[in-house]
């Protein structure tokens, strides 16, 4: 089922959706959003592309097994949890840096953000794996 409209649309929509998902990911700490939601948005974009172009083309673009993405995400989460352990604090303690950046002003970067990135990647990996496995059949 190849549709030209879908084809062209997905070309432009996928990057857009991924960008939106990243936007939701990074604003998540202060506004509605976060790793899970942005992961779902990202999945939607990627799946949209795969529907339009077919699985094979999609994998050519993705180049990585979704399960590996899942694993990567879990490792990032684990790293976020273990970082505070290095300084002798309990597992999963939130650690923060508050540098002042030129454009953005004072920002807070911390392990919860890393954690959320991990969730984001895991959710994308999980959803892609399930959906792609289903669609392969």
């Amino acid at each position: 089922m190849k549709s030209t409209i879908l084809h062209i649309a997905s070309h432009h929509l996928m990057p857009l959706l991924l960008a939106v998902s990243l936007f939701y990911l990074f604003r998540g700490h202060n506004y509605p959003g976060g790793g899970f939601i942005s992961g779902l948005i990202g999945t939607a974009g990627l799946v949209f592309y795969s529907l339009a172009h077919g699985i094979d083309d999609f994998f050519k673009l993705l180049r990585i097994d979704p399960l590996s993405l899942t694993g990567l995400g879990l490792l990032i989460i684990l790293a976020a949890g273990l970082l505070p352990v290095l300084t002798g604090e309990p597992f999963m303690t939130g650690k923060w840096l508050s540098p002042s950046l030129p454009v953005l002003g004072k920002v807070h970067i911390g392990t919860p953000l890393l954690f959320d990135i991990g969730v984001y990647i895991t959710v994308i990996g999980v959803n892609l794996k399930i959906i792609l496995t289903l669609s392969e059949e």
Binding site: H29, T43, A44, F48, L74, D116, S135, E137
Partner: protein, 767 residues
């Protein structure tokens, strides 16, 4: 130091396979030195113990449960420790010859040393649970050693059987220990012994007693659990010598002896021990008689000896306990000697069938000596140590009348048949006409005959000069078991007493039975009897259990997804519902300030839900479900939960994408299931919906603790640096929770993948 030796053995044992790989020849020399050095350590300790200076050492292990690795060495522990390390030394020397060319020599040493360390742990532990751990370790090492020739199915079965029987007993024993520690409020054995009055008068005394006895009886192969022991004879002979005659099977006896001061003195204790021990000693002997396999013969006579020990401890008079202490060592010496010589015969001739073995004295001169000495001690011929054992045994310290006669008769029968066994194992293979064919060409190495000869000489020497043994070994042990000072007097000849008459009668009866054995008529008689009933029951029970498990599995896990869903939902609803309605039912003020648009949404969702069930078109059904889903998202928005609403919308969207992927593969959309199952599903759905609604209402109404929401809201920005409370909770306050959920998601993805891939593959192979 003595106690550290246990740990040192545990540390060294795993290193032995490496040593064997590096230098096999050297390892065969070095390894037996370990038990020898432990043995010498204990020997140097004899004087301290005799003067009443027990050793004590404690290491905290699990302090929160009061479990310590505390060790304590007294006369009783020392008697066992000497047997374990002494016989251990002989067996290790013997193994170095017997297992010389075995490919798994290193592994063998490892298991054996591990066993020896755990066995020492049992007899030196002062903590109930430390004892239990070592007890189980001996079961496990016994399992590994019985199944050492694991390529043979027979070995594996025998190993499993032994493990299950002793394992069941071990668990019972642990339950008994837990009760005991609750009664006394301590886990230390010494401390429990001091509170023996409390234990004996406690209402839980009977269960404690029965549970601990179950542990002791399974380990020490008492009828009806005896059958694992002859089965265990498939193990290499050094294992049979060490574990299944000299030490491990005595662990049960040790337990009885150790808990005698705590629990004896009641009719129940005496009754059970005397009856079970009596039955065991007689049936072990009777079952031994028709055996033709050397090792099985010895195994059944071991069962008989263990029965006699149990019975003597059950009688509980100082004399009977002395007899038990003496017999423990006597048996360890002669039985290990006979086992080792049986192993040599097997090794050299390739058979253990006594009907085929004769006239080997010239080919195996040292083995002949060792086996002969052991057999004489076993038969109770003066002046061997075995003679004194039998004298004390018959004495029992009781007047021979009433039921004591039954005990005496049981002992005479068992001893007489043991004389037959002694003759069959110790003399028959070596004497008589020499066989014509030259089966044996090479000499027996020293390492192999050293064990039996040494054991035999010790048995003779301790009989000739009994004083040091009594003073340093037996008296301290008996004092512990009876918790009082007592002295043992042994005389070779003390007049023509009834006891001596009985000893002579036993010898005569044994000789008569041995002659009878030449006419092997009774063999067929016993074969017909097939007294393997307990092992039959065990097998049936075990396989029956597996069958029941299969039937249950077949019904619960029948491979139909719908029945899994039924079972899971039904179970959840029944349990939750039961809990819910056992509280008072909460009737909320349902409709107090519902706004108009909320009403509209609710009506819309209900209509859509009903429509999705009733529609005849698949796409319509999906559409209506979508309406319900987006409706839920709207509810979230109405009540101010934007994060949840976004998630809900996205999930609904993905579901639709998923659905569009599989819609082509689905069968035609029509009613497949019969009406009754549809009604059943309907009922289940209604119940489910009802229970969930009630649960949510209930959750709203209950407030066990002050809500934590306020804390989160107040601290979100301050401590989590985020204004989105939901997100701060997910990534910071409750991050571990999220981590778990994400892992569950990943596992689900792997599950879906595996499920679909396998079905695809199956289908392809079908085509």
């Amino acid at each position: 130091m003595i106690i550290n030796s246990v740990f040192i053995l545990f540390i060294i044992a795993p290193l032995i396979p490496g040593l064997v790989r590096i230098n096999r020849r050297m390892s065969r020399w070095v390894v037996p030195l370990l038990p020898l050095s432990v043995f010498l350590l204990f020997i140097f300790h004899l004087a301290d113990i005799q003067q009443g200076k027990p050793g004590f050492q404690t290491i905290n292990w699990i302090p929160s449960l009061g479990i310590q690795l505390s060790f304590y060495i007294d006369g009783l522990g020392l008697l066992f420790a000497l047997i374990i390390s002494g016989v251990g030394f002989l067996v290790f020397v013997y193994s170095s010859g017997y297992m010389k060319d075995h490919p798994y020599l290193g592994r063998f040493y490892f298991y054996m040393l591990g066993f020896m360390a755990s066995m020492l742990g049992i007899v030196l532990s002062d903590n109930l649970f430390g004892l239990f751990v070592f007890w189980e370790l001996t079961s496990i090492s016994s399992y590994l050693l019985i199944g050492f020739e694991h390529e043979q199915e027979k070995s594996r079965w025998a190993a499993l059987q032994a493990l299950l029987i002793t394992g069941i007993g071990g668990l019972a024993m642990m339950a008994g220990f837990i009760l005991l520690s609750q009664i006394t409020g301590t886990t230390g054995i010494q401390a429990i012994t001091e509170q023996s009055e409390l234990v004996r008068n406690h209402s839980a005394y009977i269960p404690v007693l029965l549970l601990i006895l179950l542990g002791a009886f399974t380990k020490s192969a008492q009828v009806p659990f005896h059958f694992w022991l002859p089965g265990a004879m498939v193990a290499p002979t050094p294992v049979s010598t060490f574990l299944h005659s000299a030490t491990m099977v005595k662990a049960g006896i040790y337990l009885l002896a150790r808990f005698s001061p705590v629990m004896d003195g009641t009719g129940l204790w005496h009754g059970i021990l005397v009856i079970v021990g009596g039955i065991t000693t007689v049936s072990g002997a009777v079952l031994a008689w028709p055996q033709r396999d050397l090792k099985r013969l010895l195994a059944y006579s071991t069962v008989s000896a263990l029965g006699a020990l149990t019975m003597l401890l059950g009688l509980g008079t100082p004399t009977a306990v002395k007899a038990a202490a003496l017999y423990l060592l006597i048996h360890a010496l002669y039985k290990s000697g006979l086992f080792m010589s049986a192993g040599i015969l097997d090794h050299k001739t390739g058979t253990r069938n006594i009907t085929q073995l004769r006239g080997l004295r010239k080919r195996l001169p040292f083995t002949t000596i060792g086996a002969g000495l052991a057999a004489l001690s076993m038969a109770g011929v003066p002046p061997f140590l075995g003679y004194y054992g039998k004298e004390l045994m018959y004495d029992t310290g009781m007047v021979w009348r009433g039921w004591v006669w039954a005990v005496i008769i049981a002992l005479v029968v068992a001893n007489a048949i043991n004389i037959v066994v002694a003759i069959l194992c110790g003399f028959k293979p070596f004497w008589g006409r020499s066989p014509k064919d030259k089966q044996i060409t090479h000499r027996t190495p020293v390492s192999m005959w050293f064990g039996p000869v040494a054991a035999g000489i010790v048995g003779l020497w301790m009989g000739l000069a009994p004083i040091p043994g009594i003073k340093f070994i037996f008296e301290p042990a008996v004092n512990i078991i009876k918790s009082m000072k007592s002295e043992i007097a042994l005389e070779l000849f003390h007049g023509f007493t009834p006891i001596l008459q009985l000893s002579l009668f036993t010898l005569a009866l044994g000789g008569f039975l041995a002659i009878l054995t030449r006419y092997r008529n009774h063999v067929t008689f016993f074969n017909k009897l097939k007294m393997t009933f307990p092992s039959f029951v065990f097998k049936k029970t075990l396989f029956g259990l597996i069958d029941v498990a299969n039937v249950i599995t077949k019904h619960i896990q029948n491979g139909l997804l719908r029945s899994y869903v039924h079972i899971i939902f039904l179970a959840a609803f029944v349990l939750i519902g039961f809990r819910l309605f056992s509280f008072e039912i909460y009737v909320p003020k349902l409709f107090h300030d519902v706004r108009l648009h909320e009403w509209a949404l609710a009506v819309l969702m209900v209509v859509a839900a009903v429509a999705s069930v009733l529609t005849r078109y698949r796409l319509a059904a999906v559409f209506f479900l979508g309406v319900v889903g987006y409706g839920v998202a709207l509810v979230y928005i109405f009540f101010g939960a934007p994060d949840l609403a976004i998630t809900q919308v996205l999930v609904e969207t993905l579901i639709i994408i998923l659905f569009s992927l599989i819609i082509y593969h689905l069968p035609r959309f029509q009613t497949f299931s019969p009406p009754h199952s549809r009604w059943r599903d309907f009922a289940l759905a209604l119940v489910g919906g009802g229970v969930m609604t009630m649960l949510i209402l209930k959750a709203l109404a209950l407030q066990f603790h002050p809500s934590i929401s306020d804390y989160f809201i107040q601290n979100s920005l301050k401590r989590g640096h985020g204004r989105n409370v939901v997100n701060v909770i997910l990534t910071n306050f409750r991050a571990l929770n999220t981590f778990g959920e994400v892992i569950v998601l990943s596992v689900a993805a792997i599950g879906v993948f595996a499920l679909l891939k396998y079905t695809i593959k199956d289908r392809r192979t079908d085509v």
